[in-house]
Symmetry: C2
Subunit: 511 residues, 2 copies
Amino acid sequence: MSKIKRALISVSNKQNLKPLLQSLKKNKIEIISSGGTFKEIKKLKFDCTEVSEFTNSPEILEGRVKTLHPKIHAGILNKRKNKNHQNDLKRNNFENIDLVIVNFYPFEKTLNSTNDHKKIIENIDVGGPTMVRAAAKNYNDVTVITSPIQYDELIDQLDKNNGSTTLEFRKKMSQIAFTETAYYDAVISDYFNKVSNTNFPKKKLFYGNLVEKLRYGENPHQESAIYSKHDNLSIKQIHGKQLSYNNYNDIFAALTISKSLPLNRGTVIVKHANPCGVSIKKNNLESYQSALACDPTSAFGGIVSCNFKIKKNLALELNKIFLEVVIANGFENDALKILKSKKNLRIIDAKNFALNEIIKFTSTNEAILTQSEDLAKFNINNFRIVSKKKPNKNQLNNLIFALNVCRYVKSNAIVLASNETTVGIGSGQPSRLDSCQIAIDKMKKFINPKDDIVAASDAFFPFVDGIEKLVQSGVTAVIQPAGSIRDKEIIKFANKTDTVLIFSKTRHFRH
Amino acid sequence: MSKIKRALISVSNKQNLKPLLQSLKKNKIEIISSGGTFKEIKKLKFDCTEVSEFTNSPEILEGRVKTLHPKIHAGILNKRKNKNHQNDLKRNNFENIDLVIVNFYPFEKTLNSTNDHKKIIENIDVGGPTMVRAAAKNYNDVTVITSPIQYDELIDQLDKNNGSTTLEFRKKMSQIAFTETAYYDAVISDYFNKVSNTNFPKKKLFYGNLVEKLRYGENPHQESAIYSKHDNLSIKQIHGKQLSYNNYNDIFAALTISKSLPLNRGTVIVKHANPCGVSIKKNNLESYQSALACDPTSAFGGIVSCNFKIKKNLALELNKIFLEVVIANGFENDALKILKSKKNLRIIDAKNFALNEIIKFTSTNEAILTQSEDLAKFNINNFRIVSKKKPNKNQLNNLIFALNVCRYVKSNAIVLASNETTVGIGSGQPSRLDSCQIAIDKMKKFINPKDDIVAASDAFFPFVDGIEKLVQSGVTAVIQPAGSIRDKEIIKFANKTDTVLIFSKTRHFRH
């Protein structure tokens, strides 16, 4: 236990000061403060000494230097049980500061509200983090409070312990304090890196705010949590059971695809982070029905993501099968009512979600792999039609649709499409030929399309056998990046079979 | 340009000070310093004023408070073109500090060398980060140097610009400085979180040191880099072309499996982050040959990881097919010579690599998903034999082997094994039945084992059809977590067909 005699308060966020000040007064704790906090404390009619009076040193440089003073920092940093420290204190006529209540200039908030570089830089707090770090280092003797949400717990501590705090509490507050200072500087570092277009600095900080601890990870024996790179996630759950790790993973996989499709037309069904049905149709009901038809077996227990507002007729249709999650750009009231009749169905409004994160990262054992996301629109001018047979407009649309889905399927990926609907998806195979076979098997099992069937491959065909298999199964047009030493053989095969062949030039692996 | 008149130097890492001091002297830059740095500068016979003399304030608390003084921080933080600031300076008789050369108490190093909490805490630098943050904030007027590797560039700047630095340089140094302070506090925060077993704090920092910028990401149009959670990676490339993003991703996928197998026996072949062949055999050559036999087509261009030292006979065998990467716990000299005859083959020594990272994370759009890794050994006592037919020892060993591989295959995953070798792997399918079919097709294509065939599934069979397909294809024993409402039907089917059925109880999804 360490009895608190003196507190230093310097807060940018001035919420909930009153009950805090009442508690300090009750416990006869002297308060020192400065600037806006000092004014606020006086306004609330509590006693307070100005920092400049305490240090006998003026506040200068328009507030840039006020607490950076040995009297303040010796007051915080001295070890109460160290004789040398105590002698130093006496010799200099310094006094203990036992409680530091500080939150910082709102750098992140400023960043979100302005592009004015000078204003942003001015909001880098120097004095605040210094006091917090000093107090956190000396948690053995000093209590550090970095957020108004900790006031209640502090008041409780003071009440329970006659104006003292427990070591356990001080250590916990210290732990949070270092997370705050690290987070604060990570945001600043990120800002500087962004301004100078530095994606890969020598030291890199990735940071997030806890959204929620999850019940478990990919499996029940794994602990898990989800963080947001911002204050919170832009997707909003409006009904159903708590989202699981796998739900979140699937939701973001689904949104990556559905948000890449033409607005108000696209439906994606995802299972195990892979799409098992995708379609774009003007008619929303048809859009869903077509996506479902691609693999209705796999869709069972899956996640449906629509890039439009869900209406009553679709809600009725969705309710016909068991789904884990339904995502949409909003829901009409009667549609929502229908969907909500399924108690456990997780319903997500994703109208505020946008694909705009550029750098993604993943940890793999001791390493962190980071790369820019594969989100850019295709540059169709770069596509090269290499077959004698030229695609008609319908084929070209379908090829582009298939290639776009294909880049979001785990490699090796083959996507068959017809009428801007997937009719066969082969995913996650070590051999491209196997992915071809899987896509074909799916198509034969569920669809057998009447119209033109096209195929997209996420990487080149190393041999003729893959494309041969596709053409034998009815595919009339193929798009692939090219780059194999057998490209010429493949072109020859396409010409022999009157197949359209386009080289898209850009590979789209995804693992 | 801003002419530098006065520098403050306070460095924990005292490397390369001499040429720096020579350059400062040449440019008539006054130096202030304290403690160990002051002594070192004097020892090198350069002029230097002690901080306590400069501030006219003693160094106290055994060095905890020395630079935390308004004269130091006003000297750094004042805006040189702001009249109020300049008046404040004059009024207080303060002087400019234009250059801050500081590196911090070695917190991370201390952490790696001791468990002594007090010693660790003592190595939290307070004064250093404060000066660095103040200088970095005021980069418009002040130069901040945070590492000896920046000295040459600083010297170059002073030489080129008559004792000044350019704004561009100062801004770049400021950017690095904030990354340093953020990283420093992230390590401290992580330490406190570890000590208190807090895996998921409210704000979370993930951090790494750049290992290298990669040529590109999963695809050539994506930028990429790899970071290490430590100083560097424990794997060591000893030959071949630069590793790519996909190489690294596959290497860590391969190592996760091979390091989980009994030491000195295991070989894993990986393609597109999935295993396409795994085997454990006492004889190392057989271990590789068996792994290869599982799917020799997919192994082409793959990654081989052995959890033993590679000898000459295996090297000769490995050279027979095209491989991207060979990984082992070391190589005998003659083996290495043989492998090196392939100019491009990437050879990796992973004897220092261990599976010990507990929390992994992945970014997905705006979210960061984090969870503990699925690495723990199976608790075989929890397994429940639910069929009338009991497994013999051979079956049991094979079931455990198959389940261990299965948990590292992308879901839905089915692994067929015989003689502690995979004979069919079905990966990455939205439907479990499809994964069964793929595994069976592989087995029929390449192997047709003579001995007992067993199967493992990463999650429960929702229907009888999956296990039925397996048994029809010759599988005699199955392990799966269970948990389906049709578990009873599945047990009934096992009994009807005299199949061994074990419920492992733990699910092993991986995406």
